[in-house]
Symmetry: C2
Subunit: 336 residues, 2 copies
DNA sequence: TTGTAAGCGTTATCAG
DNA sequence: CTGATAACGCTTACAA
């Protein structure tokens, strides 16, 4: 591989000069600059990233640590982050901490010296250990994580408020027995959405029966299974709030297979408003989450941290969610 | 930030010993190893990636260059690549070469010294320039690119065969005026799919009218627009083959808004079989593309190249596509 | 305006 | 089994 030395030798200048050309240092005679550039092009030279980072201690790369890469949610986050990063000329080192792969801790460790900052999404409530493994004084933004005691910037979405809005909406349509299909155990978002549901059930005096809280894990399959259990309840709930759209999709097919018609026989609402939601039949009422924006804001927040000369107060930003009413809840096109 | 020197000093050993511990060199006394590890943990040390890469000239990172990050297709590719990369302990440096961002050439250049190999997806037919900018003798796998004269490994999908299967299927249902909504101009996949369509039109003596070939660019909006133009044709085609599912989605809503019922009034087929396809109403007949597998195979191919000690013959792998018949084409549930 | 040379944090080659 | 020390490719004072 061809290095700065080769270019320097061939162009008849010192390595310092070649370096200056590549860092647009003003102090280079136009003629010299041209010769260097010509030679570099001819030789097909490009600077060695690692060597550069080593001396400048800046990588122009930003690490993105996700719990998984499956589904539209993560894909949208990546897109948002990439977009914002690219505007600043930054690269993206993506890593997923799926079960079976390296632990969050390992992933963090192996990113040392390869990234200038980190966006970490780790919605598990017991992520204290991983937090401790974050290098101290290193720019980090937590995404959709429990509000942490540690001093990291964090950004999340209005889970509680979204769940409240959805549950209230269903109640407003006349439903009093509203079931919820819960998200993954130990997941912060899931816990918040459940909290919102319960608050409304309590405040509005709806049926508080524990049987109406079905467990799920955010997967389509778990939504399907929960809907089956729900269908067997006596009396059957007249509305279901799935804690994410993936489970709503599973529930939708299960309910239909069970012979129920939506929204006539039962109303359904989801959470996230993934692109798929509006294409379902009936189109899915959901709580819209600006996923791409979440990624963009996280990135902006990270850059702010990168530019800060001295440690600042840690901030927490919460993105608003909005209820999107479609046909699956029966507010339009049929009685609930 | 804390370096290997700090650990060495505090542990009372040389940096060489610390390094040996981290590279599990066998030649370290268990007691020494333990002391080093303890000190490293206490200090929160982790090796500096860039420094490591500089001397070993291996980054344990793999570059993935995509034309865009929008949509389920790319998301699935990323997932497939990540999965295969993670199995080998590799990281993923993702970059999109969208318009407005850096050019493919720039992106490639800036990856020098940061990755051990590259997976490049650049379906534009005129990507000759970018190909020349690839460092020579560097492991590269081309994804969904035109079969290149250059000596790179490449992997793609059976576009032509898939389009043939879809068009034949529609013809087999009795359609003779089959329209196509074409993919982006200058795109290799689009060209191949069109070629497959035309071959069947010719071979089966279907209506070859050029008016039946509507332009599109793979976007949902372009599918919508094309369907509107198509709807105005006299006589109206009885079947439409959209060159990807995104356009099929757009076409579906346009046709429905125009008052047509699918598949009764017009049959529709897509390409890619994105997850969304089976949730549409009616469910979309499509050509299934194993997108995740595409990413995995590309990665496997890259690793093979990485391990090769001497340059090997460049290989081309083509993944089979399969027709997935659902209700939108009328083969099931209604006359075409 | 240009060149010389000292690192950046590792690993690898030698000695011991 | 362990310790010096020379790279790796680059940037950046400091000199010239």
């Amino acid at each position: 591989m061809i290095t700065i030395k080769d270019v320097a030798r061939q162009a008849g200048v010192s390595v310092a000069t070649v370096s200056r050309v590549y860092n647009d240092s003003a102090n280079v005679r136009p003629h010299t600059r041209a010769r260097v550039q010509a030679m570099a092009r001819e030789l097909g030279y490009s600077p060695h990233g690692a060597a550069r980072s080593l001396i400048t201690s800046r990588t122009h790369t930003l690490g993105l640590l996700l719990p998984d890469l499956y589904g539209e949610f993560f894909s949208e986050v990546i897109r948002g982050v990439d977009q914002a990063a690219q505007r600043e000329g930054f690269h993206l080192l993506v890593s997923s901490a799926r079960a079976g792969g390296p632990s969050l801790e390992d992933a963090l460790r192996s990113m040392r010296g390869r990234v200038d900052g980190l966006i970490v999404m780790s919605p598990d409530l017991d992520a204290g250990a991983s937090r401790r493994s974050l290098p101290h004084g290193f720019p980090v933004v937590m995404l959709n994580c429990p509000p942490s005691d540690a001093g990291y910037d964090s950004i999340g979405i209005a889970n509680y408020e979204g769940a409240v809005a959805m549950t209230r909406h269903l109640a407003g349509l006349g439903h009093t027995r509203i079931a919820i299909i819960k998200g993954a155990e130990g997941n912060f978002d899931a816990a918040e959405r459940l909290r919102g549901y319960r608050a409304v059930v309590r405040d509005l005096g709806l049926d508080p029966s524990p049987a109406l809280e079905l467990s799920g894990d955010f997967s389509e399959a778990s939504g399907h299974a929960a809907a089956l259990r729900l269908h067997a309840l006596v009396p059957r709930p007249t509305a279901v709030f799935a804690a994410n759209d993936g489970m709503a999709v599973g529930a939708l097919s299960a309910l239909r297979e069970a012979g129920l018609r939506l929204p006539h026989d039962i109303a359904l609402g989801g959470f996230d408003d993934i692109p798929l939601a509006r294409y379902l039949e009936p189109a899915l009422t959901s709580v819209h989450v600006p996923i791409g924006v979440l990624g963009e804001h996280a990135t902006a927040c990270l850059f702010a941290g990168l530019r800060a000369t001295e440690p600042t107060e840690s901030r927490r930003e919460v993105l608003a969610t909005t209820l999107v009413v479609r046909r699956s809840c029966g507010a339009q096109g049929g009685p609930g």
